[in-house]
Symmetry: C2
């Protein structure tokens, strides 16, 4: 953990039990770590969960884009460093750099966060948050911004019903569960032959226990788009770019 | 982390994203933490994964019994302390005590570990492992030993097909995935009204990607037994004792 307030860093060891079947870090765990460092950075500024809940507000992750040169391997220590690139009334743009034990940069992520009112679930104006203005950082994040996915032209679809273990402390589907469900649209054999080069997700609506959702997949090329929807309501849209291993 | 070699302790903060829908620590995460402290304790003795893999061997978790007075709550720091109670040629019995920030004991676990040959998947003789004999500890573990569950008289059954995200670095189903699947046999509403007082699992055979398994449930009382099986082959048997919240 660093003490430079504009950039916050933390390291973890990738344990065997956390790995996917390729003995590497799965996309959902990287996203969990991204949420971890973002949360701890906000907490270190005194604007984390404990402060916002006093106003019945909370930070919510709206978009994630991850692009990896390579994923951390089993028993490897990796570090995430995070900083805020920009913000406006509606959202904050927070970037992440991933490095290995030797300090080599192995990937980046871009995230977009909003603050919502926990009663109305509507986003709040964050333009008055001075601590963000004072801590903007011009460190480079060389990956492209999020793609706007307008719709998915499904080549195939499947269904899933959310279970107890998918539900988080807000009684909604855990945001990491969507990522597992999306990657589960391919077999373990496929994943053993392909690696995720870029992963993007836009969270749009919240899933509920026992809700049956449709997963639409367009994987006619290695640049895939997916949507999880409940009837006509999209819960999230995703872009996954695969490469051969 | 303590340095007394007979007892190894480690603390964690329970983050919001890790909680179940009751804003508490889920059974699967407690099991993950139990594996974490056991692994780190073995590593600290120089008999962890790195040493055993030289002989093509690995520690495998065979049985877990967890009994909690209460589960850690969101944003609470909890500590697991672990020690070896006994061992013989076939297995090692490792216990865990769970304490809260004030040092109050809030639960215990008993685990049974075997060493397997990674090629044959058969268990190895561990009676020659002197480091275990020298580090046996007589600290008390007040919960009952594992129940021997011989069969499950199913009141209801369901099916599940293992997916990519269920598979671990050995290309088998992640041992924590069974626990989620077992607890998913009840709705989020049921879990919001009941708490797991005691959870036991005996791992028997390994699940594979795309395998469709049957889950048999006997929940005619609050003392439930469950089995996950693939045809006539049991993968695990479980006992779950619920209490009203």
């Amino acid at each position: 953990m660093t003490t430079d307030s504009k950039i916050y860093s933390k390291s973890w060891l990738l344990t065997p039990g956390e790995c996917n079947c390729e003995k590497e870090m799965p996309v959902w765990l990287m996203t969990e770590r991204i949420i971890d460092v973002a949360t701890e950075h906000a907490n270190s500024w005194g604007v984390g969960y404990a402060r916002l809940i006093l106003d019945n507000q909370a930070w919510v992750l709206s978009r994630v884009a991850i692009e990896m040169k390579r994923w951390p391997k089993v028993n490897e220590t990796y570090t995430l460093s995070t900083w805020v690139e920009d913000y406006n009334r509606h959202f904050s743009e927070r970037n992440i750099e991933v490095t290995d034990t030797d300090g080599n940069v192995i990937g980046h992520a871009r995230t977009v966060w909003v603050v919502i009112d926990l009663t109305t679930r509507q986003s709040c104006d964050i333009s008055s948050l001075d601590y963000i203005r004072n801590n903007l950082c011009d460190k480079e994040c060389p990956i492209a911004k999020h793609t706007r996915i307008r719709s998915v032209d499904a080549a195939r679809t499947s269904e899933y019903t959310f279970q107890y273990s998918d539900i988080d402390f807000n009684q909604h589907v855990n945001s990491l569960r969507y990522i597992r469900l999306l990657l589960d649209q391919w077999t373990a054999d496929f994943h053993n032959e392909h690696v995720v080069k870029r992963f993007e997700i836009a969270y749009m609506n919240e899933g509920l226990p026992e809700q049956t959702v449709q997963i639409s997949v367009d994987d006619r090329s290695d640049d895939c788009t997916l949507e999880i929807s409940h009837g006509s309501e999209p819960l999230c849209r995703t872009r996954i770019v695969f490469d051969n291993r």
